[in-house]
């Protein structure tokens, strides 16, 4: 049991950058290109870690600390994350609040690091990132809250573990709504289309990317890795709801969920290939919509 959970955390640490590779591969497939290799994110991170860094003279301590805390928060978050029916190494009542708090902490530090540069572009990106997550967080909280309420569980592991028996079976619409809300939050928090375009090179339209524009070398590598961990956490959570395989063996459950996580990433790639980015004024509406769906799920479950 314990070994399965530890392996789950290790899998997260190792496989997280792969999700970015999958997304890029799917996008390439849609565009009819052969695309970059699946393992390209690993190579990017490795390359960046080997390089030296350039620091602007206006930056202070926070600039270097931000990415490190981001990765640290992601790693701690992984220990709270159940992989389907397989419990997380750390599970206690109310742990989902801690997970949300860790994600917020990571964002907070990255934002501080961005503001530390004193550049207008970084500041603009940071303000947008914060504005969006202010709307995404309630949606996330409501979605997880619906899960917890439906399963009558205190910890995230127990809630995700019981998702088939207590959410899908009694109230399928609620499960669908939770999954939809989680998916929207996933796209928003990880700076994907339709909220943000990771490929854009125009500063004015960038949100997340512009925020980390000044980071270079190992720092930027950490930012990328922290982002990959965040994507893994969200995708695994969504997969835990969407792939309600609970056969009793933690190994099988975990494997099913990991496959589900890859599928979620592939789905994200498909969304990215088929959708255009939303106008900035529409973004809050979509996020409020997600929050509303999650709230509806809360109302639906008994």
């Amino acid at each position: 049991m314990v070994s399965a959970s530890i392996v789950g955390v290790l899998a997260g640490l190792i496989l997280a950058p792969l999700l970015g590779g999958i997304i890029n591969r799917v996008k390439a497939l849609f565009a009819g290109r052969s695309g970059q290799p699946l393992l390209q994110p690993y190579r990017d991170i490795a390359k960046l870690l080997r390089k030296g860094a350039v620091f602007s003279t206006t930056t202070g301590e926070m600039f270097g600390v931000g990415p490190a805390i981001g990765v640290a928060a992601g790693v701690v978050g992984l220990t709270l994350l159940p992989l389907g029916g397989s419990r997380a190494p750390v599970a206690f009542s109310g742990d989902f609040l801690l997970l949300l708090g860790l994600l917020a902490l990571a964002r907070f530090c990255i934002v501080l690091a961005a503001l530390d540069t004193g550049s207008a572009f970084e500041g603009m990106g940071a303000s947008r990132e914060v504005a969006f997550s202010a709307l995404a967080e309630p949606a996330m909280l409501l979605a997880v809250g619906a899960l917890v309420r439906a399963t009558d569980a205190q910890s995230l592991s127990a809630a995700v573990g019981a998702v088939w028996k207590q959410v899908w079976q009694p109230s399928m619409p609620a499960a669908v709504l939770v999954a939809a809300a989680l998916a929207v939050v996933l796209l928003c928090e990880n700076a994907r289309i339709p909220f943000d375009d990771p490929n854009t090179h125009l500063e004015l339209t960038m949100i997340h990317e512009v925020m980390v524009l000044d980071h270079s070398g190992p720092d930027f590598g950490l930012v990328l890795y922290g982002g990959a961990l965040k994507l893994w956490i969200f995708s695994a959570l969504l997969a835990g709801v969407l792939v309600p395989v609970r056969c009793g063996s933690p190994w099988l459950d975990a494997v099913a969920t990991v496959i589900g996580t890859f599928c979620v990433a592939a789905g994200g790639g498909a969304v990215e290939s088929t959708m255009a980015r939303l106008r900035l004024v529409r973004v809050p509406q979509l996020l409020v919509g997600a929050a509303v769906m999650a709230a509806l799920a809360v109302l639906l479950v008994r």
Binding site: P173, V176, Q285, V288, A291, V292, L296, L299, L300
Partner: protein, 214 residues
């Protein structure tokens, strides 16, 4: 039975929220049509065990009228006019959606207070019906165009019929058909008036229909 109709009811709620947040007139007309079709399916599912003619007549009538005839009628009333094809709200779209959520919570609370004296197909039925009704009222009040008020009336009526289909088994067929006929004529007359208003005033903004007052 709740397992079958819950998805429909939840879709109804989502359609309502989309209507509250929707900015394009054409989209909203389609959404109301979707609602009509959903009502027809609901009628079929709930009336299981009742005489098939009744179920088919009601469901068919609902789908045909609300899903096909009304949207056509409303689109026709719109067509050819140089009017802006937006909803033009008094209350913005995002606040509308949030208010919708508040209304939903309110209806859930109300229906938890009013206990049903009879076994319902789903515990969601009463809140969803009341929520749809409230959404209709809100659309009538908070949107500017005459045609959106017609849409609001239709949504309101859909909510009431949801309630009626599912709960009052005693309403005989003739009455339900009478209701359907009344609504049909009401929409017809409203459509004609909207058309005339458009020809006379060159717009269908109800806030400019203000020559009559004390």
């Amino acid at each position: 039975m709740g397992w079958e109709i819950d998805p429909i009811l939840v879709t109804l709620v989502l359609v309502n929220l989309l209507l509250l947040g929707g900015s394009r007139l054409v989209t909203c007309i389609r959404l109301v049509a979707v609602q009509g079709v959903l009502l027809g399916i609901l009628a079929l599912l709930v009336q299981v065990g009742w005489s098939p003619t009744r179920a088919v007549l009601l469901a068919g009538g609902s789908v045909l009228l609300k899903g096909v005839v009304f949207p056509r009628l409303l689109s026709r009333a719109l067509r050819g006019a140089e009017i802006r094809r937006e909803m033009e709200p008094y209350v913005g779209y995002t606040p509308s959606v949030l208010l919708g959520l508040a209304m939903l919570a309110l209806t859930v609370w109300v229906s938890s207070r009013l206990t049903l004296p009879l076994p319902a197909a789903s515990h969601l039925l009463v809140p969803v019906a009341l929520f749809t009704t409230l959404t209709g009222l809100f659309l009538i009040v908070a949107r500017r165009k005459a045609i959106t008020q017609v849409l609001g009336y239709l949504v309101l009526e859909n909510g009431i019929v949801t309630f009626g289909i599912a709960l009052s088994h005693e309403a005989p067929l003739s009455v339900e058909l009478g209701v359907l006929l009344d609504v049909f004529v009401a929409i017809l007359v409203m459509g004609i008036i909207v058309h005339n208003i458009r020809e006379d005033f060159d717009h269908i903004d109800t806030d400019r229909l203000a020559s009559l007052k004390d």
